[in-house]
Amino acid sequence: MANILIVDDSETVRTQLKHDLIAVGHTVFEAGNGLEGLILLQGNKHDIRLIFCDVNMPEMDGLSMCREVHKDPALRKIPIFMLTTQNNTTMKAEGRAAGVIAWVVKPYEKKIILDGVAKVLARTAT
């Protein structure tokens, strides 16, 4: 089980996803935008193992946050799942360049998310 950070400006999304992740034993940290996410990630003192991030957010959008995470040697290995309503090819290419490893379009299905998380965590643990 891992410490997971959810970065989304919607409390509704954070609550739903937090509920699903906690139910299978993960510990969840929350941030309401990219800037709050970066502050929480500083030095990775919370030992975050995976990040869920929205694209459209106030203050700092998700892709900008991912670019900052990708630039930081202490954080760049943390896998990032983009969780967004947008499914645009250009945006996905930008995401990939910024270190995003998975793209999930909302509304998500619980089983698919949890399987994806398990798969990536198992991979990064080895």
Binding site: D9, S10, E11, T12, V13, T15, Q16, N56, M57, P58, F81, T84, T85, Q86, N87, N88, K92, G95, R96, V100, I101, A102, W103, V104, V105, K106, P107, Y108, E109, I112, I113, G116, K119, V120, R123
Partner: protein, 211 residues
């Protein structure tokens, strides 16, 4: 240029584009309420003929802008606080729907706008039209009186649609203001059938090939 097209053909195509754009939004609003409220029987009704655009439909209003080079859509959800609390209760839980804080109730409706907009953008992608989404906002329903619902056919086609959605005992009103900025780039909409979304369509796309 096709010189064989009559004025009737052009008018028919223009009407088909207008209808399809409106159908995209109405369909997305229906589908996302069905998912989010977990209600298989969402009832959709067009507002009565005597409805006057600009009339205040509820105490609160959430809205989002969907826009690109060819089309601009303002989608609004008009709702009362008790309805939003009832809907949000499914996500936030607690003792009762009445105990849901206003902040969470509003957030739920804003996220609904976001989901509707995301679905609209996906539908437009099927016909080669790229659109972006704004952040959703929530305000007083009273501000509807300042909305401009004037219709026009040239140079920008502008029109509006209004409808009512009911999921169980929860009623919300939706409105959408459409501005067709470049009708030529929307011709692929003619004859396009909205694909049926089935449970299990959602998936994770791994961008890291080796993941």
């Amino acid at each position: 240029m096709d010189n064989t097209r009559t004025n009737e053909d052009i008018a028919r195509d223009a009407a088909a584009i207008r209808d399809k754009v409106a159908e995209f939004v109405r369909h997305s609003a229906f589908l996302r309420l069905k998912n989010q409220a977990d209600c298989p029987d969402v009832d959709v009704r067009t507002l009565a003929d005597d409805f006057v655009p600009g009339r205040i439909l509820a105490n609160n209003m959430a809205f989002i802008l969907i826009s690109g080079d060819s089309v601009r859509i303002t989608f609004k959800v008009h709702f009362n606080l008790a309805t939003a609390k009832n809907l949000a209760f499914r996500v936030f839980g607690g003792e009762s729907a009445e105990d849901i804080p206003v902040r969470q109730a509003f957030d739920y409706v804003k996220e609904y706008c976001n989901l509707v907009a995301g679905n609209v953008v996906s539908l437009f992608e099927n016909v080669g039209v790229d659109l972006g989404i704004s952040l959703p906002l929530c305000t007083r329903g009273f501000y509807e009186v300042f909305s401009d619902y004037a219709e026009s056919d040239y140079p920008v086609v502008t029109y509006s649609k209004f409808w009512r959605l009911q999921a169980n005992e929860n009623v919300i009103f939706c409105s959408a203001r459409f501005e067709l900025l470049n009708r030529k780039s929307l011709t692929n909409l003619i004859g396009f059938e909205i694909p049926e979304e089935t449970i299990g369509d959602s998936e994770i796309e791994f961008l890291w090939d080796s993941a």
